[in-house]
Amino acid sequence: MDVYTRRKIKDVVGRLLIALIGLFALTPLFHILISITYNGVRVIAATGVIEFLTGIPNPANPSNPGGIGPAILGSLVLAAMATLIAIPIALNTAIFVSEFRGSPASRFTILLSLLLVEFPTILVGLFVYAVVVEPMRRFSLLAGSIALALVMLPYVVAQASEALRQIPRDLREAAYSLGLSRLKTVYRLMLGMARRGILVGILIGLAKALGETAPLLFTVYGAFNTYPQSILDPGAAIPLLIYVYAQQPGEGYQALAWGAAFILLVMVTSIVLVAKKLVPRVHL
C-alpha cells in the first residue's frame, strides 16, 4: 500500500468518525424536536387547532382536553408588554454605553449587562415579587412582564450598542456638519441606522423571554382556566402551563402540556429564524 492510499483511508475513517460524533451530539436535539412535534401535533389535531388555541383546559377528558387559550393570550400579552418596557430602557442604556465608550461608567454598565445575561432568572422573579407583587398584594401580568423585561434587557442592550458602535465615524460627522446636536444625531439618525441590530436584539430577547418559566413563577401565578380581564389580573403563560401540567398525573394534563410545548416551539423557532434572516451572522 503506497503512502497516498494510506492517507486516503485515514482521511475517510477520520471523516466518518467525526460525522458519527456529530450525529451523536445532535441526537438529543432531534429527539426533542421530533417527540414534541409528534406528540404535540397529535394532541392539537385531536382537539382541533382553533379549539386548542382559544379554548379553556378540560383535562378531565383526555380524548378532548380542551385548549390553552388563556396561556397563549398571557404569553402574547407578557411578550408585548415586556418589549414595551424593555425597549426604552435598553435603547437608552445602549446609547449611553456606545456614546461614552471607554469611560468607567460605560464599562461598568457593560459589565452589569453581561451579568444580567447570566443572572439566574429565578432571582429575577423573586426580585419582582419583592418590589411589585408584594407591595401590590397581587400576582399580575404587569409583574410578569416587568420580570420578562429584565430578562430581555441585556440582549437588546448588547445588540443595540454593538449596532450603534459599528456606525462609521464619517456618518456621525456628516450629521454634526448639518448642525445637529449630539442628542439629535443619536436619537434622530443613529438609532435609525442601527435599527436592524436593535430589531435583532429585541427578537433574541423575546425568544428568550417567551420560553422563561422561572421569572413567572412568583409573578403571574398561573390562571390557566380564565382569560385575564386586565394587566393587573393574574395570568398564565405557555411555559408556566407546561411546567405545572407536565407534573400532573392525569393524561389530559399531559396532553395539554405536549400541545403547549409544540406551540411554544413554533413561536420561539419562528422568532429565531426571523432574527437569523435579518442578520446572517448573528450569534445566538
Binding site: E173, A174, A175, L178, G179, K184, R188, G192, R195
Partner: protein, 262 residues
C-alpha cells in the same frame, strides 16, 4: 445666538488670525492667518498630513468632536469669531456646510429624506410643500435632480459614487449655507464623476463661498480662484490661482507643483 449675527456682506467669508491647532502635544496647524474672499473658490492644497483637513474642520467647529484637538486663535466666519463663548456651534454649522472625502449619504434614508433631514430637524419649512420645493431646489443646485426625480423615495445606497457625492452636496445645500467646505470631495471618484463635481463647484460659487481641500494641483488649477499651499502645518504661500501656478514665489510651492515634494 441667532443666524442673523452673521453678516452676509463682509468682504471675507472666512478670516483666521494666528490660528494654531494641536492634537495633544502635536502642533498640526501653525500660525495660520488667511482671508477667504466671499463667493470664490478657495483651494487649500498640500500633501497628505499637512494639516489641510484639520484646518478645514476648524472652520465649522467640527473639531469640537475631536477630544484631543485644541484650537487657539481667531476664526471669523462672516464677521463672527466662531470660537467666541456665546457662539452656538450648531448654528455655525448651518452657515458653514461640509462635504466629505467619502460620499456619505445616510444609508437608512431615501434620496429625498437625505436632503430633507437637515431642514426638517431644524424646523426650516412650515409645510410639506415648502419642504418638497427646498429638496427639489437643493437637488437641482447639486445637478442631481434630473437623475433622481422619478425615484426620490428609493434608498440613497442605490446611487453611484458620483451621485452619492452630489447627494451629499445637496444635503449640505438644503440648509442654505453661505460657505461650503469640501474635504477632497473627488478623492474617491472616477474621472467622469470628478469632472461633474468640479463643474458644479464653479457653478456653486455664485451662491456660496467654497473652501476646497485637495492634494491635487491640477484640481486646484481647474476650479480655484485662490490657492493656499500648505506644508507641515504651515501656509507656505497664498495667492490667486494664476500667481501660484504661473509664478510661485516660494521654492517649496514650485517643488510641490512639479512633483518634487508631496
Amino acid at each position: 445666538m441667532e443666524l442673523a449675527e452673521f453678516d452676509e456682506n463682509t468682504p471675507y467669508a472666512i478670516e483666521t488670525v494666528n490660528l494654531n491647532i494641536y492634537y495633544g502635544n502635536k502642533h498640526v496647524v501653525k500660525n495660520v492667518s488667511l482671508r477667504i474672499p466671499r463667493n470664490t473658490v478657495f483651494a487649500i492644497m498640500g500633501p497628505s498630513g499637512s494639516g489641510k483637513s484639520t484646518l478645514l474642520r476648524s472652520f465649522n467647529r467640527l473639531l469640537d468632536f475631536y477630544p484631543e484637538a485644541r484650537v487657539e486663535g481667531v476664526v471669523r466666519v462672516l464677521g463672527v469669531n466662531i470660537y467666541d463663548e456665546h457662539v452656538d456651534p450648531t448654528i455655525v454649522r448651518r452657515i458653514v456646510g461640509m462635504v466629505f472625502q467619502i460620499p456619505n449619504p445616510f444609508p437608512h434614508l431615501s434620496i429625498y429624506d437625505n436632503v430633507a433631514i437637515g431642514p426638517k430637524l431644524h424646523g426650516m419649512c412650515k409645510s410639506k410643500q415648502e419642504l418638497d420645493e427646498l429638496v427639489k431646489w437643493a437637488l437641482e443646485k447639486a445637478g442631481l435632480w434630473d437623475e433622481v426625480k422619478d425615484r426620490l423615495h428609493e434608498p440613497a445606497t442605490k446611487l453611484s459614487g458620483g451621485q452619492k457625492q452630489r447627494l451629499s452636496i445637496a444635503r449640505a445645500l438644503a440648509l442654505k449655507p453661505k460657505i461650503l467646505l469640501m474635504d477632497e470631495p473627488t478623492a474617491n471618484l472616477d474621472p467622469v464623476s470628478t469632472t461633474r463635481i468640479e463643474e458644479l463647484i464653479v457653478e456653486l460659487k455664485k451662491d456660496v463661498t467654497i473652501v476646497l481641500v485637495t492634494h491635487s494641483p491640477r484640481q486646484a488649477a481647474r476650479v480655484a480662484d485662490y490657492v493656499a499651499f500648505m506644508y507641515m502645518g504651515e501656509i507656505v504661500e497664498v495667492g490667486t490661482a494664476n500667481e501660484i501656478f504661473t509664478a510661485p514665489k516660494n521654492p517649496l510651492t514650485e517643488k510641490y507643483l512639479t512633483g518634487v515634494v508631496g
